[in-house]
Symmetry: C2
Subunit: 679 residues, 2 copies
């Protein structure tokens, strides 16, 4: 056995014998221990901090004594005075091995550290971003051996960092020479190493050691809203988030109306492309400001979006997506320069990655959900629903994954609802109707109190009560059914039939009055028969999509359901199931994944290998086209009703003691709305 000291690294447990005097960083590299270093062991970046442990460590078989590492040295002293080192920390490139020792690599010193996602699930993202910093010392030019500065930078990166080859665009070349000289031939470069290219791109170069960090944007480009998450590419932390309305809304509320706009207006697609690119550029500046960084430190952008947004972002006329066979111009992932998308406020050499599309109706957003929720790795059969203007639906397990998209329309987001509004302060987001008194109580966004609690009026004085948002309208419709104010066909009863003056006649139908502040100049908020029809259409489309995938898979039930989307995070699972939005399942088997598409974008941003993974996964997903499946229409029609669900929901037991109303017996007036087939 070696008489050299034994070094054990935790948490990895990697161990080896090293000659006295070996720097800890060198030992770590030789063992393949995940210990960061930007400056390559020059004692200036402090990324290689370690925590030596002294005393007995029987489980590692090491007894470490004081003196097992070299003395605290001048470089460490200077760094500690200048920036401060946490107690017990050493710089791995300065401390050398003197005896047996156990050395802990704290999470922040690991290159491939793991980041816990914000979302409900406790899965982690392993940091492995495409773009990283490298500090490098470049040889000065020599007239007798003339080579370009770029070629000497490349040689230095190869020798010092084992980077096989680099490329640099003209804008970088034009700043290369002054930066090298300003840094006295020591520079920090940001290199982008794509998962498909062995040549690394020089994204940025700074004189000396760059300490300003490196950032990426995960962008969830929705039909209605655009959300950007500013992510620290070294730590994985989301340092700021910002969202804006998609300015394309002025060309059409939903996807198909934007496709129509393009069809009807020559150049219309170009207008929409310009609008959304400008908005994203503005958003990038905004989120950088919020995060307190210079926008040019943003060197990577990942996009997830549906196919129509995808094409309009790329400058491709989406007209083919509006008609069978719904052909995408390209379905594969795209790696582009950010400036190709007119993102000019961030780093001019920033790279963008756009996840692959699954099919003409199932986009990169669905791919991102698959990356985040990993149905293909699930032991049990999981149904994943990302609710938005279109619903993306995935069904699968380890053996096989199916995907489709269902045109739910914007009702779930509060649009096309008489008192509807987007989720914003003042919007009713939750509602309960007392099954006996038929009186409502509700909560509005921006206030934790229910409307029947003390202090509610004072708490909402700022925003007032302005309308009902998506989650509110779903709860309202479900509660109307639970309270016996609406029948199985979705027909609201009269005040007499329902036994409450809150049912008010409006033409030939009735509405339920939720709140009336007209006396104080405020709105009168009702749920109308039209609102119920809109929700029925949306929920039928959603349900039919899920059922279609279940048919394809040959199952009648699923093991668990994951609701994704910003909306999925706020929806009440119980009410969704009462309404029949989703197939029946035990309530504790229905979970919310939060913004799974956004999470997928973040994963692709933080871990470059995940891009290869999702590209592989997408190729294996079976796509189901709802628009041409006759069974979709059948399921759609069948899903229109809102039956009682006693068996599944003991929580509703009190409700079923009430007689099941049928306000429309014999009249035939309660239909499935415009899309209902009549037999």
């Amino acid at each position: 056995m070696s008489t050299d000291p034994l070094v054990v690294f935790t948490p990895s447990g990697k161990r080896g014998h090293f000659a006295v005097g070996t720097p800890v960083l060198t030992a770590a590299r030789q063992l393949g221990v995940d210990l960061d270093s930007v400056c390559g062991g020059r004692g200036i970046c402090s990324k290689c901090q370690i925590a030596p442990s002294y005393g007995e460590f029987s489980k590692h078989g090491v007894t470490a004594r004081e003196g097992a590492l070299s003395e605290w040295n001048a470089v460490e002293e200077r760094y500690d005075q200048k920036r401060g080192l946490k107690p017990g920390r050493r710089l791995g490139c300065q401390a050398t091995v003197q005896g047996d020792i156990v050395i802990d690599v704290p999470a922040e010193s690991q290159v491939h550290r793991q980041v816990v996602r914000k979302a409900a699930s406790n899965r982690v993202i392993q940091m492995d971003p495409a773009t990283r910093l490298y500090f490098v010392e470049v040889d000065e030019p020599d007239m007798h051996e003339p080579t370009g500065d770029l070629e000497r930078l490349e040689r230095a990166l190869k020798a010092q960092w084992d980077i096989p080859a680099i490329r640099a665009d003209l804008s970088l070349l034009s700043k290369l020479q002054p930066v090298l000289r300003k840094g006295k031939w020591q520079v920090t470069v940001a290199l982008h190493k794509s998962h498909t290219d062995t040549i690394a791109r020089v994204v940025e170069i700074w004189p000396g050691l760059h300490e300003g960090g490196l950032f990426g944007l995960a962008i969830d480009l929705g039909s209605t809203t655009v959300a950007a998450h500013l992510t620290d590419l070294e730590t994985g932390a989301v340092t700021a988030s910002a969202g804006i309305m998609n300015p394309q809304i002025r060309f059409g509320e939903d996807l198909m109306s934007r496709v129509s706009y393009s069809m009807m207006n020559p150049g219309g697609d170009k207008e929409m492309t310009r609008a959304v690119r400008e908005a994203i550029d503005t958003l990038a500046v905004e989120v950088a400001k919020e995060g307190g960084i210079d926008p040019t430190l943003i060197v990577e952008v990942v996009f997830v979006c549906n196919p129509v947004m995808h094409h309009l972002l790329l400058g491709i006329d989406p007209v083919e997506l509006g008609q069978a066979p719904f052909a995408l111009a390209t379905s594969e992932s795209l790696s582009l320069d950010a400036r190709d998308l007119d993102l000019t406020s961030i780093n001019t050499r920033a790279r963008t990655y756009i996840l692959p599309c699954i099919a003409g109706h199932v986009g990169a957003d669905a791919a991102a959900v698959a990356l985040s929720e990993e149905p293909g790795k699930s032991d049990d059969l999981v149904l994943i629903i990302d609710v938005g203007t279109n619903a993306e639906i995935l069904l699968g397990d380890k053996s096989h994954v199916l995907a489709c998209s269902s045109p739910t329309g914007p009702a779930f987001e509060g649009a096309q609802i008489s008192s509807g509004q987007r989720a914003a302060p003042g919007a009713i987001e939750a509602i309960r109707i007392d099954p006996v008194t038929k009186e409502p109580r509700f909560r509005v966004i921006g206030c934790e109190l229910w409307s029947d609690e003390d202090g509610f009026d004072a708490a909402i004085a700022g925003s007032g009560i302005t309308g009902i948002c998506g989650s509110g309208i779903i709860e309202a419709v479900a509660e109307l059914r639970i309270a016996g104010l609406m029948d199985e066909n979705g027909l609201l009863g009269s005040a007499e039939a329902a036994g409450t003056p809150r049912m008010v006649a409006e033409g030939r139908t009735h509405s339920y009055l939720v709140h009336d502040s007209t006396d104080a100049g405020g709105p009168r908020i009702t749920v109308t028969q039209g609102d119920i029809r809109a929700i029925q259409l949306a929920k039928s489309a959603l349900y039919a999509g899920a059922r279609l995938l279940m048919d394809q898979r040959g199952v009648d039930k699923v093991d668990r359901i994951v609701l994704a989307g910003a909306f999925g995070a706020h929806i009440s699972n119980l009410h969704a199931m009462v309404l029949g939005m989703i197939p029946d399942a035990h309530l504790d088997k229905v979970t919310s994944a939060g913004n799974a598409a956004g999470t997928g974008a973040r994963i692709a941003l933080c871990n470059v290998e995940s891009r290869r993974e999702i590209e592989r996964v997408v190729r294996q997903i079976t796509k189901v086209e709802t628009a041409i499946e006759p069974k979709f229409q059948e399921h759609f029609v069948a899903a229109n009703a809102i039956p009682h669900k006693t068996a599944a929901f003991p929580e509703l037991a009190q409700v079923v003691t009430l007689p099941s109303p049928n306000f429309n017996a014999g009249s035939g007036g309660g239909g499935g709305g415009r899309r209902r087939r009549r037999g």
Copy 2:
């Protein structure tokens, strides 16, 4: 032996037995015979024309009878009626083998046809352009197997043309869908296959068969002029050429004054970059117009230029090139999008290739000369001199090649000469001085007659006699020496000493009067003492560079000399040697290569593998930096004199019978000018 018919292809001599009914194109492909086809054998492109030979062909051992190929068919009939087929021609994809046959592949049906260069040398360029046309049939989209149109195009190119992978930028993606549908899923694509990338780029796409051809530009970007050669990428023919003045001249006449301009004026480099890019874009439109093609059919551009032009073209401040150690930002070749250089009038997806630079003073133009003249393949020791504002000098043979650049200044181009002008109609380009009468006779550009021939005055009436261009001034100085009007130190004698009233006093020196038309309001054209000093400086720099390389190589003489450059094509070798511009060599060992840099650009344009070749060659060339070699200064000073050269030039025998004048004996006034060292 096979009983199948024997097919012999000429000129390759490749042969094989093929089953009766095999299309000739198929047989050619199986044998690796170089037979073109854009449509892949669909009978629509007519690129695969062949010429079958009937009768006895003892040298090929084949006796072909009529009927050895299938009957003329409907496809050929239709093509012949529509476009016309030359007599005896068949379409290789239609004619099938029926018996033993000899088939000639005419030059225009060969993919890798050889193109004889215009230049004096009889070497050829083998056609193998990076960008080629491919006709392809693409599968229609299928909702059950959703893939993007781009992915189906890629699949088709792989199946039908064995293209491993493609990429397309956003501007192509945005037109892909309409073009595929317009072409009814038959399209022609222009694919760019780089020598460094296995993924082919889709540069352009047309519905159906594209018959408009494909073009490239070879651009010789000089300090003074910019020349563009429009080249047919299928045939290699130069279909048009055009040149313009480099607009950077307004920022500085020579390279160093442009570098100074950049140093003294913040943003000055950007101004010069903008100016030259705009000029090149304009030039591209002009040359396309002259060639009668749409500029968007230009899909490739190759640049050769000196290092300062190189950096200014790329948008890199050339300041480092103005001071030791003359570091290039990058020395390697560059493959860029044309739009990166603001070339927006040609195809938006055109690719540019810029040859590698050899060193900070020896640019891509010298690399192009090396590609054209191939010193590294020469059995004997060749000295190649590309004369321009800077002279690029190469010396070498199979064993080793050396290169340097020498700052000759613009005198050789007629600048800094009292009656100097650029080579244009009216400029004196050749001159002879009678050694007895001391009277001159001359020729001007635009007229074949000498000035003492009948009809000269009438022939030049249009242009007049306006000045002396570069080749004219060199001849004038040499002739003054030959005629005994100038001594070895370059001093002109007085009218008395020289014995001719054409020597006129001007201040303390004398000038030689070539032509005086002041009576008719025209110019008075003289060769002044200052002109002689300017030419002496230039020729000393040129000679010193060549000598420096000869020192490095350890030789006193070279086997042959090649004069390149537009100027080299017009210079009189005899006069150049009398003047001492170039080392002594037998006159029949001095040849002109014409615009070798331009030819190098054309080679790189027409043959993509030559790019790999020149990149390899450049890495092996030894660079010599004249600016830091003390011997350069020594040679420079020593080269100032203009001695008699009887031994080398029997043509001058008559001259040496004259006494060798020395108009300056004892005065010490004849010096090497401002750069001469005084001991």
